[in-house]
Assembly symmetry: C2
Homo-oligomer: 347 residues x 2
């Protein structure tokens, strides 16, 4: 079969279209012929379905373009798993890739049993190297196919979760507290603050003192629940002393979670900012925390390895990994946050 390189594509005649597109979903038909992208061409060469292109076999064709190998690995893996997929080139996948500009993805993957002639899309996929930098804004409806340094693949699905819950917030109560280094102690507070609102942690079994975090302290002082020498501002100042701008970002996310009926508690044991509970009927009968939340500033760029670490850990403890990107300027977060969930995917 005649196949020849023409700029950034490989052109096949009508027989090629029948054989590779109509029955197996390769390429993009144009005026009766078939146009193949380099990665599709490499795959057909690898399989022996094409013998050569302009005299090049698989090896020569693969070595011709520096970045082709990693895209090839992903393309091959998805084909091996029984998927048809199309490189996300302008004009090739316009309808299917509607929600994501083709520039942000590499492949449109169809559900098993479907192909480019159908409307359905299983995944919008972006291939990234382990050492790439991945801006958080580009995520939310794409799957990252990370090719690590040893050419192993990890698929990470990114979605926009609905973060909301039904946990009560008993802010119709009052308590007094002292500021002690980076925590507060509320002496003989109303038990409900802890039992219903899941604020703080008792110092001892007698419940004489409730230890509150600086975040809880600012939040409760702001709502008139907590009286503390120096007021809310003193607690806020202590938080900024300890954590700088980060304190404000974490406070913005803490507040957004509480306002959405979700209880945030420290995620320290999981290396995250928060673990969250969407339902709290009573602290004595507390369910599993469903999510781990890491707070990011606007414009954050992920290193895939850090993502892999967070997602793997969350998976291991049966929680969903969620990133909260604060709104407003980096130093002055305001209002709500944008939520991004990332999980491992086995296509």
């Amino acid at each position: 079969m005649q196949a020849r390189v023409d700029g950034d594509r490989v052109r096949l005649d009508e027989r090629g279209r029948e054989r590779f597109y109509d029955s197996r979903g390769y390429g993009h038909p144009v005026d009766g012929e078939l146009h193949l992208s380099p990665v599709e061409t490499a795959h057909l060469l690898y399989r022996g379905d094409l013998d050569s292109v302009d005299g090049m076999g698989f090896r020569a064709f693969l070595e011709r373009e520096d970045g082709l190998a990693s895209r090839f690995l992903v393309y091959k893996d998805l084909r091996d798993r029984g998927f048809y997929l199309t490189p996300a080139r302008d004009g090739w996948v316009d309808g299917a890739a509607e929600e994501t500009p083709p520039a942000d993805i590499d492949f449109v993957v169809y559900p098993r049993g479907k192909g480019p002639w159908d409307d359905a899309v299983a995944y919008r996929m972006r291939v990234v190297a382990e050492r790439a930098s991945v801006p958080v804004d580009a995520l939310g409806d794409v799957v990252l196919a990370v090719v690590d340094e040893e050419s192993e693949l990890t698929y990470l699905e990114t979605t926009r979760p609905d973060v909301s819950g039904t946990a009560p917030d008993p802010t119709d109560t009052t308590a007094e507290a002292a500021l002690l280094n980076d925590r507060l102690l509320a002496w003989n507070p109303p038990e409900r603050l802890h039992t219903a609102g899941f604020y703080g942690r008792w110092l001892g079994d007698d419940h004489a003192a409730l230890q509150l975090s600086l975040l809880e302290g600012v939040y409760l002082a702001e709502r008139g629940v907590l009286s503390v020498p120096g007021g809310r501002d003193a607690v806020l100042a202590r938080g900024r002393e300890a954590a700088g701008d980060r304190f404000d970002r974490r406070l913005a996310v803490y507040t957004a979670l509480r306002e959405r009926g979700v209880v945030p508690k420290t995620g320290f044991k999981f290396g995250a900012d928060f673990r969250t509970y969407a339902e709290v009927s009573s602290v004595d009968d507390l369910g599993h925390s469903e999510r781990l939340v890491r707070v990011l500033s606007p414009g954050h760029a992920f290193r895939p390895r850090d993502l892999s670490l967070d997602v793997r850990l969350a998976h291991g403890v049966r929680k969903e990994m969620v990133f909260a990107v604060t709104e407003g300027a980096p130093g002055a977060p305001s209002g709500d946050a944008a939520w991004l969930a990332v999980s491992r995917l086995t296509p």
Copy 2:
């Protein structure tokens, strides 16, 4: 009982020594009297064993000193768990703390059933806040007691592991490879390279091409195993392009591990630099990888939350978390590495 503040200690008379030191291991006896540190005093006040000190009850005494609360939490927790422990003050624990300067630790904890009058030591413990910065050099024979923002405790044990294994390194073979972006492809290499040495990853089932990482490429080119256009230097240059100085540090650790009979493979899926195998009889019959290794530069300081993340993940996948600190200048690592293992401890 008479108890009075004298500088940085609280002094009790002989009756106090009999009651609190002789039978319960509090304080440090001096000339028949008993000297208590603030944290011990706070604990005796908390328990009601002392009513007041210079008119101060538990609350007033605890609020008197800013950093006391977190040390108190750890002291109380260890007492609750049945341990006797002594604040690591100069002159109080000289023998017991011999290996670690008292300045680097807060408490010497004795084995259950033992006390300050015995020689045995269970843990040398250092109390750190979640937001502290912990230099890697100060670790290796101490236990970190991390007090997180919600006053929960996490104990992290640090040790110096023996990193060595019996894995073969079949460098008496040769292969040719091409450099493709951030990986190498060796075409039709000797199978042993992979099956005995666990180098690389096959591109397909026909074993026509072995994909090697840039680290494996440099290591094998340096040993004359791999011929690649431009030689070892071309691969090294590509690695530095992708990862900067970090590539050299990772290479130093990769090399140190191989020379110690341990096989390093990528730790990407675990967010680490490497996972390691101390025994490799055959790749087809590969055991569990025992360790996760993260490479650090000299002088690195941990944030406890990052440590918590790594250690929790490693624990979840039944591996030991090991940090490798390269030697030599930060930009020019050389020779071996210093190894540090960190694991969760339940005292």
